[in-house]
Structures are given as structure tokens and as C-alpha cells.
């Protein structure tokens, strides 16, 4: 009789102490994010300390507001009109003069889709132009790329494509399209990996 009672006590005791459900345990991480993130008011950390010396331009794309590094000051031979006084159609075709930009070969889509004037404006060398011949500033060259590469553009405006400069804290400073992709040869070339772990290979023999 006593033994039975003891067993019941022990079982109840074990049942009570084995319940691991704590107050702050969430079932899924998304529950936790939703709950803890609903009153988010910002954190004291900012990316400013890493991007202070960088010249930035603020953009708003797809309802996202962020910064991109300024581009015009980084282009060595900008502004084009400093050297080129004649418009493009007047210097084209002349045989005796030296050709600049001989080192730029276009490897971007094919001849049917793209040539130099797809992006560069003939009338104004200091600007780019859209498909509908609207001017696009060199600092905002991503608008050009967005015309064809819409998926990547959408991802980039949200932060899912490309690299961030200055860390994870707000305000976001995103690298531009041309920061990683050379507009004249945008594809990443094949290369060899930067590491070969001999140890791991040995271990698996």
C-alpha cells in the first residue's frame, strides 16, 4: 500500500520537474523575431564610424532608403568633356587621330543587344542615358542596369544582392553595381579556389 503511494508521489514529482517549458522559450525563431522585434526603436550602434570618410550619395529605390558610394570622383578620366570638345559623331570615323579607350572591349550581352551607345549618351559624354534616352547621372548608374536586370535590382535595393560597406548597422551603405561588376565585362571570371585543405584530404583517405 505504502509502496504504491510512494510510486505515485515519485511519478508526479518527476512529471513536474521534467517540464522544460520556460517563460521565454519560443517555438520557432520567427515567433521570437516577431515578438522581440515589434518594439524595435533602433540601437546605439551605427555604421557611421566606418563610412565617415566615404563620399556617399543617398538613394531611394523600391521604397528602400540607403546610401551608395559616390562614383564620379572615382573615375579617373571624368569629366569626359574636359578632353573631348567635339561631340561624338564628329570624331567618329576619323582615321588619323589616335583612338582612346582602346583598352575597353565590350563583353556584355551580344552585338544585337548592346554597344557603346546603349549606355553612353552620344550628345553628352558626361552622362549616361536610358533606353528612352533620358539622362542618367554617373552617380546613379544603377538605374541603367535596372532596366534589364530587374531581379537583381530588386534584390539589391533590399540588400540581398551585392555587398554592404561599413557593417551591418544602419544606415545601410551598399556597394553599387559597378563597384563589383565592370560594366564593360560584368561577368566574374573563372578562377581557382584560394584554399586547398591538405589536412582534410588526408583525414579522409
Amino acid at each position: 500500500m505504502n509502496v504504491k503511494l510512494n510510486i505515485i508521489f515519485i511519478c508526479t514529482f518527476i512529471l513536474l520537474i521534467s517540464c522544460k517549458h520556460k517563460e521565454d522559450e519560443y517555438h520557432t525563431i520567427t515567433d521570437k523575431i516577431e515578438d522581440l522585434g515589434k518594439d524595435f526603436k533602433g540601437i546605439p550602434l551605427s555604421s557611421d564610424k566606418y563610412t565617415e570618410t566615404l563620399k556617399k550619395v543617398e538613394v531611394t529605390e523600391n521604397w528602400q532608403r540607403f546610401y551608395i558610394p559616390e562614383r564620379k570622383s572615382q573615375i579617373k578620366s571624368f569629366e569626359c568633356s574636359e578632353c573631348h570638345s567635339k561631340p561624338l559623331n564628329e570624331i567618329q570615323g576619323e582615321e588619323n587621330i589616335e583612338k582612346s579607350h582602346w583598352d575597353i572591349t565590350l563583353k556584355h550581352a551580344n552585338q544585337e543587344t548592346m554597344n557603346c551607345v546603349t549606355c553612353h549618351s552620344e550628345n553628352n559624354m558626361d552622362e549616361l542615358h536610358s533606353i528612352t534616352d533620358k539622362p542618367i547621372d554617373f552617380n546613379l548608374s544603377h538605374k541603367l542596369c535596372a532596366q534589364c536586370h530587374q531581379n537583381q535590382f530588386k534584390d539589391w535595393s533590399g540588400g540581398a544582392h551585392g555587398k554592404q560597406i561599413g557593417g551591418w548597422a544602419q544606415p545601410r551603405v551598399s556597394q553599387t553595381c559597378v563597384g563589383c561588376h565592370d560594366p564593360h565585362r560584368p561577368a566574374f571570371e573563372k578562377r581557382w579556389p584560394s584554399r586547398y585543405n591538405v589536412h582534410m584530404v588526408d583525414e579522409r583517405k
Binding site: 519560443y26 520557432t28 525563431i29 520567427t30 521570437k32 523575431i33 522581440l36 522585434g37 524595435f40 526603436k41 533602433g42 540601437i43 546605439p44 550602434l45 551605427s46 555604421s47 564610424k49 566606418y50 528602400q64 531581379n151 537583381q152 530588386k154 534584390d155 533590399g158 540588400g159 540581398a160 544582392h161 551585392g162 555587398k163 554592404q164 557593417g167 551591418w168 548597422a169 544602419q170 545601410r172 556597394q175 563589383c180 566574374f188 573563372k190 578562377r191 581557382w192 579556389p193 584560394s194 584554399r195 586547398y196 585543405n197 591538405v198 589536412h199 582534410m200 584530404v201 579522409r204
Partner: protein
């Protein structure tokens, strides 16, 4: 110091034979009794005679005295005295989780000073705590990864990993197109031009789960999940049993089978107590989301190094962060979801 020594006569409550036996120690029916004892009694109720007991006590005392004398000695120089003083204090410190801010500062200073005494160079160890309203999350874009392994190299350099055993926290797997995420057929030690035809690449590392099995199985609580979501290890508390290594379903943990060797010029001098400070032989280590960088607002080294921008890091609690945008707008998935451990590392494709 050695534990309290067992009595030189042994008291065995289970066996009547022993009490009749006048003698003590191993000359008696010690052998027959061995089978009756288990675990605790094998340690605490060892039959021993006086000689053995005295030998053990003296040995223990000598070790203790040796330790004490190196710090109190009059003949050794100031520096070695300070060194042993530091070692002594470091030996007796508690678990980092239970330390007060003051104690944390003290231990960090001791470690910095100890490095300075040994090598002569200054390092920076931080004991910065987790910030409020921060929960770190990570996303990996499988479409963009080309298998360059730049992230692995950056991680090794940043986190002072052992060069002799080529330890790497991150592994990049080369998988076959059309076969899906088949880790059994994947290769993570490839060495040829990438991206190779017919393959795609993805990386794994510690996923910093919200419900980490490694934390639950640690017998000494040397590993735990910090408030900002990073699962960390106190290298001075770890006993090296490697139970956590067995518990991790993703092979996220690494063990130092030998003393880590890092060339002095390559040591990353900006360290965190729970992150990339120099480890010793016999302790576990793993990815800490570069805690020494991320708590200061920087991205982890792997994110910074990736040339294709496949890695995304951020604060999950900030609705404007890139990681939240990815979770809301891209089709994300995680590995081994059915285990219910809630990793904070998502994969997605363009």
C-alpha cells in the same frame, strides 16, 4: 591541489567479511570486493595502505608547493613571478557566465598582460557584452556562390585558427546539379577551376541555433547562447570532452587536438574573450559570427571577404535590415529543419 585523501582503512558497508578481517589495504580480500564497488566507491573507497596514502599526499603537496613557490620565490625575477601570479589567478577564476563586469575586466587584463609578458606584443581583448535589441542572423545566396573559398581564408586569419592542422570553421561544398543538397555526394576539398560545370556551391559553418543541442549536452556549461543569439564557448572552462562535437548535427565545432600554432605576425590582435583570443590545446572552438567584429557593428570576416556578395548578415530584430528583407522577400530554407533546433542561418537562391 589534491583532493582529501581516502582513509587508509576502508569501510565497506556491503560486505560482512571485511569487518572480520583485521588487516587493511590491498593484502586483504581486496580483489573480491572490487566487483561489488561501482563508480563513486571506486574512487572514494580505495583500499590503500599507509605508504601509498603518504606517497599520494606528498605528491599533491609538492605540486601545490611548487605552484605557490614560483610566485613567492625570492630568486626568480619579477616577470616570472608576475607570470605565475597571473597563471594562478587564471586557474581559479570561475565560469565567464557568472563573472561580474569587474571580474571580466580583470581576467581580460590578465590575459593581455600574460601575452605581453610572453611575447612582448600588445593585444586587445574585449569583453563587450551583447547589445539589447540585437539578434544576429545570416543568409547565404546559393546562386551567387562560385566556390572561391575566400571566406574560409578570411575566417582563418581573423579568428586565429590553428595553421598546423589547417583548421577551418567554414566548409564550402561542391554539389552536383540536379542532385539537390546531397551532402553525401558533395565534395568540400575540391581544387580545380571554379565554378565547375555541372556543380553548384554552398557553405556551412556553425548555424547558431536558437535551441542548440551543443549547449544542452555540455557537462560543464562551458558553452552557451548569448543574448544576441551567438553561441559561444569559454575556452578556459571547456574540459575537452567533445560531447558537443558529437551533438552538433552540422559538424560546426572544431577541436584543438594539439596546441594551436599561429605565426606571430599573422595573429589578429583585436580579440574578444569569447571569440578569437588564442586558444590552448584540448579545447573546442567554432564560428562565433566574428563576435569581436559584430559587436562593434562590423560584418563578420566571411561576409566582408566574399567577392560575389553571397553572404548577408544583420540584426533580425531590425525590420529595415537586409536579413529581414531576405526573409520576407526571398524563398529561404534552412538545413535539417526537422530537428527543430531553429538555426539562424538561412539559404536562398536568386
Amino acid at each position: 591541489m589534491n583532493k582529501e585523501i581516502k582513509k587508509w582503512f576502508s569501510l565497506n558497508l556491503g560486505n560482512k567479511k571485511q569487518s572480520n578481517c583485521g588487516c587493511s589495504g590491498s593484502n586483504c580480500d581486496g580483489q573480491a570486493l572490487e566487483n561489488k564497488k561501482d563508480g563513486i566507491s571506486q574512487v572514494f573507497d580505495v583500499d590503500m595502505n599507509r605508504r601509498q596514502a603518504f606517497k599520494k599526499i606528498t605528491a599533491g603537496l609538492m605540486i601545490g608547493a611548487g605552484a605557490v613557490s614560483t610566485s613567492c620565490s625570492v630568486v626568480s625575477g619579477d616577470e616570472s613571478k608576475e607570470k605565475s601570479q597571473i597563471e594562478w589567478e587564471e586557474y581559479f577564476k570561475g565560469n565567464y557566465k557568472l563573472m561580474t563586469e569587474e571580474e571580466k575586466d580583470k581576467t581580460v587584463n590578465r590575459l593581455v598582460r600574460s601575452y605581453e609578458l610572453r611575447i612582448g606584443k600588445k593585444i586587445n581583448i574585449s569583453s563587450k557584452n551583447a547589445m539589447d535589441d540585437v539578434l544576429f542572423g545570416y543568409a547565404f545566396n546559393i546562386s551567387n556562390c562560385q566556390g572561391y573559398m575566400d571566406c574560409v581564408n578570411a575566417c582563418v586569419k581573423e579568428n586565429n585558427q590553428d595553421r598546423a592542422s589547417e583548421m577551418q570553421y567554414i566548409r564550402i561544398h561542391e554539389m552536383n546539379d540536379g542532385k539537390g543538397l546531397n551532402f553525401g555526394e558533395a565534395d568540400d576539398t575540391y581544387y580545380h577551376e571554379v565554378p565547375a560545370q555541372g556543380h553548384f556551391y554552398m557553405g556551412t559553418q556553425c548555424f547558431h541555433r536558437d535551441n542548440p543541442p551543443c549547449v544542452e549536452v555540455c557537462p560543464v556549461q562551458a558553452t552557451w547562447k548569448e543574448k544576441d543569439g551567438i553561441v559561444v564557448i569559454d575556452y578556459d572552462w571547456c574540459i575537452g570532452c567533445r560531447y558537443c562535437m558529437a551533438a552538433c548535427p552540422y559538424d560546426g565545432r572544431r577541436f584543438n587536438w594539439s596546441t594551436p600554432q599561429i605565426p606571430e605576425q599573422e595573429v589578429n590582435k583585436d580579440q574578444h574573450y569569447l571569440g578569437n583570443r588564442l586558444r590552448k590545446k584540448g579545447v573546442m572552438e567554432k564560428c562565433t559570427f566574428c563576435i569581436q567584429r559584430t559587436r562593434e557593428g562590423e560584418n563578420p570576416a566571411c561576409v566582408e571577404a566574399c567577392p560575389t556578395g553571397s553572404r548577408i548578415f544583420g540584426n533580425l530584430l531590425d525590420p529595415n535590415s537586409e536579413i529581414r528583407w531576405v526573409l520576407a522577400n526571398k524563398k529561404v530554407f534552412r538545413l535539417k529543419e526537422d530537428l527543430g533546433t531553429e538555426p539562424k542561418f538561412w539559404y536562398f537562391m536568386d
